[in-house]
Amino acid sequence: MKPHNETNSSAASCQILTEAPLNTPLKVTTITAGRQAQTRLACMGILPGEIIKVVQRDNGGPLLVEVKGTRIALGRGICHKVTVQNGNGVHPEQE
């Protein structure tokens, strides 16, 4: 849980999940979907504040995301509604 004042501190570096770099730890910032979709993602471990990693992404198809040691396929549609920023302050170059 994070209060309001902490959220948009690094809004500039926010990206849509479909455009985020591959194989890089990413911190989920927002999920702007309906309650049902948000809940569904939450029980798979994908929710604001969580660190995830995009393992595979090809044009048009679903994304393959690694979270909490599991691999989850996410449809394009829902991925457009997820924004992320570089997680753990780790730069992709350092990975």
Binding site: M1, K2, P3, H4, T7, I31, A33, G34, R35, Q36, A37, Q38, T39, R40, L41, A42, C43, M44, G45, L47, P48, G49, E50, V55, Q56, D58, N59, G60, G61, P62, L64, E66, V67, K68, G69, T70, R71, I72, A73, L74, G75, R76, G77, I78
Partner: protein
């Protein structure tokens, strides 16, 4: 090390007669494997998320106490958003099992504990089973289970489902928990200051009000669910006269306050808090020494879901599945056919020959042929299920859904919908059963409704009859392809249509775990395939049996009392002519007929010229014996030579014919002439004549039967599509099972027993109808009314006749409209006439 860890042992004795243990857990946590280990029951094990939908029960004994084990659906959570979760949650809430065991895959512990926290919220007598700890430890995890058990306040047992290790300890713990020897007292969960305050306020307001839940359901749980806007909890309030004003106000205040403080909605805040609790506990009790390695499973995925190779590999595997199903299945299918046929013959043999027994007809024509017609597909279906079981249990099926999602997404369905649709090309019944893998009801209903458009195996005989009858060889392949294609295209259009009308709304996002690849055990595969095959058999034994009987009645009754022509006397006339000619023929025989009566002679000659008598001994002392002997030999030579020629019969006077006759050197040439004369001029017209009359009677009987009458009453329905009542009758028959169409066409065209290879029926169709009608028949058979087995399974899988009726009426209306359109427009322009 003690076998299990629990917050403290205490001796109190409460021996129950029977304890009930519910197994909860994520899909692929090894829950079903443990269930099978405990109960030994033949159950479904699948390495594919959410395959177990039904509640499965089994029995065992723990130290002499009977225990009932309930296998809850595999779920990630206990929301009201999917059927599985509702089934699991409602079982726990309503049936109150003595013990709930949550089975966790230790290697993905944090995600797995999310369900455990929700079980803790429900305050059920919980035991955690840490499954596959060996795998997790190999992956570098170390667990401090006694500490974790203390932190959460619940007993924890280590198990290895595959070897069965730890299962006895698990059962012992369950029985001790039920007896009160050990305790499961979840520590209060801390969600954070603001959420705790909100939950407590709402729970206090709920005290003494009607919630729609039993008194033992924790008020805090209801409070959490109200904050999450849980549909089912809200519904329960509605049902019990609405929420009290006080509760509503407190709830509104709480959500308002949370909204002021945090950007995320309450259900996300609660989820975050749950993961907070989990990581708090895990940080103290779990260490992982190495980062998640790119293990074998990940490496396989770089091949199987490769953007480039994934699709070709998938298509190749699907081709292999169908290839195996049909190449291996067809010989077995022929075997089944032979078996069913001989069963029919055997049963017929119980009845005195020549009598028309309605019971014989019901047993053989109705039940054995009806149910048998469906049973012959059993080998193919079992093989298909076995192939699917392999794909599922290895974990490949989730990858297939991943690959197909891109295409399926465009038509508004899930990647997962693809799997049942594919099965639909074999048979709609298992395909509709297979839609259980879809968690969203809307997705499931749309898929179920369009599955009959996937042209199933039973429709192939219809196409195989019609296409060669009306289309030149070079068009036959493309025609068949076109029909399948029309079905797929229509399914796509219909899905889009349903998605934007009846099933409007946000399509559920595609979220699916790709479980690690596993090597399935042979036993699991067999159990898995058989489990589904059994469902198919049950259908054959119940619905299809009932329908077969009904269809038999509809085609056999009411009996025709008065025929349009006097068929009986026609047959009598034929018989008289036949006898007279035989008498004339044998008039000048040396020694006359001797002791043989004319009846015996007629019988003998008829027998040797029609039946396959392998041994015809008899001394040849008289001309009469010679004749019978010669007729038999000519018949034998003809069939042997014609078998050799494969040309179908011999031209009298041809070289082979004479050579054949030469074998009968020891009879006089006149005798050969007489035998040939008898066979071709006396016997042949008699047989064809009586067959024609029999067939005409059968046709008239069908015409007068309930089915024929209904079809004729429906002429206004058939006519716009260019159908007459005969095609109508066959179309009605096809509702029992699609392939019945061919047999029924045979009857209305007086061909007798018919299969799709029948050239006689084809030439009759050619005479009577145009290629356009042929196309229209195929279109109508493809689209309109799914067979009753499909409707029955739709009913049972959707939970009521409503959707089955919708499917029936919708598809029939569309089938009628499209066929009518095609017929009318083409007629107008003179195409295909």
């Amino acid at each position: 090390m003690p076998p299990f860890f629990c917050p403290g042992k205490e001796q109190t004795i409460r021996m129950a007669d029977q304890i009930r243990i519910a197994l909860a857990g994520n899909p692929n946590s090894g829950k079903t494997t443990i269930f099978n280990r405990i109960t030994g029951a033949h159950q479904h094990v699948a390495n594919y998320p959410g395959v177990t939908v039904d509640l499965k029960k089994g029995r065992t004994k723990i130290d002499g106490t009977r225990a009932e084990i309930i296998d809850l659906p595999g779920t990630y959570s206990l929301t009201a958003l999917s059927e599985e979760e509702l089934v699991a949650r409602n079982y726990i809430l309503n049936e109150k099992p003595d013990v709930v065991i949550d089975i966790l895959d230790a290697s993905t512990l944090e995600r797995q504990l999310y369900l455990a926290v929700q079980l803790l919220e429900l305050n059920v007598p919980l035991i955690l089973a840490f499954n596959m700890t060996d795998v997790a430890e190999k992956a570098g995890f170390e667990f401090d289970l006694p500490l974790l058990s203390d932190l959460l306040g619940v007993p924890i047992v280590q198990t290895t489902g595959l070897t069965g290790e730890g299962i006895d300890d698990l059962l012992k713990a369950a029985s001790e928990l039920a007896d009160g020897i050990i305790k499961s007292e979840p520590k209060p969960l801390v969600y954070g200051k603001e959420l705790d305050r909100a939950i407590n306020n709402i729970a206090r307001a709920l005290e003494g009000t009607k919630t729609g839940y039993g008194e033992d359901v924790p008020l805090k749980w209801i409070a959490i669910k109200l904050l999450e806007s849980d549909d089912q909890v809200l519904e329960q309030f509605e049902k019990t006269g609405g929420m009290s004003e006080n509760v509503a106000t407190v709830l509104l205040d709480a959500t308002k306050r949370l909204a002021q403080l945090y950007p995320d909605p309450p259900h996300i805040l609660i989820a975050e808090a749950r993961y907070g609790i989990i990581s708090g506990a895990a940080s103290e009790t779990v260490t992982h020494s190495v980062e998640r390695r790119h293990d074998f499973s990940d490496r396989l995925d770089t091949i199987f879901i490769n953007p480039l190779f994934g699709l070709p590999i998938f298509l190749a595997l699907m081709y292999l599945v169908f290839y195996i199903t049909f190449t291996l299945g067809n010989p077995l299918m022929s075997l089944m056919e032979v078996g069913i046929e001989s069963l029919g013959t055997g049963v017929s043999g119980w009845f005195p020959e020549g009598t028309e027994s309605p019971i014989r007809s019901l047993l053989v024509d109705g039940i054995i042929n009806g149910v048998g017609g469906v049973l012959v597909f059993l080998p193919n279906i079992l093989l298909l299920f076995l192939a699917i079981a392999i794909l599922e249990d290895t974990g490949y099926m989730a990858r297939a859904a991943f690959i197909m999602d891109r295409l399926m997404h465009r038509i508004g369905l899930h990647g997962k919908s693809f799997i049942p649709m594919l099965i639909g090309f074999g048979c709609s019944v298992p395909a509709i059963m297979g839609t259980r893998i879809l968690e969203n009801r809307r997705d499931r209903l749309v898929t179920i409704l369009v599955i009959p458009l996937m042209s199933c195996g039973a429709r192939l005989p219809i196409y195989a009859l019609i296409i060669p009858a009306f289309f030149p060889p070079h068009l036959q392949g493309p025609m068949l392809w076109l029909i399948y294609f029309i079905g797929i295209l229509l399914a796509i259009v219909l899905t889009k249509l349903l998605r934007s009308t009846v099933f409007k709304g946000e399509s559920t996002p595609f979220v699916m775990e790709l479980p690690p690849y596993r090597i399935p055990t042979l036993q699991a595969l067999m159990v898995h395939a058989w489990d589904r095959g059994k469902g198919y058999l049950q259908k054959a034994g119940t619905v299809i049996l009932a329908i077969s009987i009904l269809m038999w009645f509809a085609t056999s009754y009411p009996k025709t009392q008065v025929y349009s022509e006097d068929y009986i006397s026609q047959i009598e006339t034929l018989e008289q002519t036949f006898r007279r000619e035989i008498v004339d023929m044998t008039d000048e025989f040396d020694g006359g007929l001797g002791t043989t009566t004319i009846d015996e002679l007629v019988y003998l000659l008829d027998e040797v010229s029609t039946s396959d008598i392998s041994v015809y001994p008899h001394s040849r002392t008289t001309d009469l014996d010679d004749l019978v002997f010669t007729v038999w030999n000519v018949q034998r030579i003809r069939s042997e030579v014609s078998d050799d020629l494969e040309a179908g019969g011999l031209v009298p006077g041809s070289e082979e014919y004479i050579r054949g006759e030469a074998e009968l050197l020891d009879v006089e040439p006149e005798m050969i002439d007489m035998a040939v004369y008898y066979l071709d001029t006396v016997h042949e017209p008699f047989v064809t004549g009586t067959d024609e009359i029999d067939n005409a009677m059968a046709r008239e009987e069908l015409e007068n039967s309930a089915m024929g009458r209904i079809s004729r009453a429906m002429i206004p329905f058939w006519r716009p599509m260019g159908f007459d009542w005969k095609i109508g009758t066959a179309s009605l028959g096809a509702m029992a099972a699609k392939e019945v169409f061919v047999a029924q066409m045979g009857i209305v065209y007086s061909i007798g027993e018919t299969d799709e290879e029948s050239t006689t029926l084809r030439s009759k169709l050619q005479d009577k109808y145009t290629p356009l009608t042929g196309l229209c028949i195929m279109l109508f058979m493809l689209i309109a009314s799914p067979c009753v087995a499909t409707l029955a399974i739709t009913k049972s899988e959707t939970g009521g006749w409503k959707w089955a009726a919708f499917q029936f009426l919708g598809l029939t209306a569309i089938g009628w409209a499209i066929t009518t359109l095609v017929y009318q427009v083409s007629s107008l322009f003179g195409w295909g006439i």
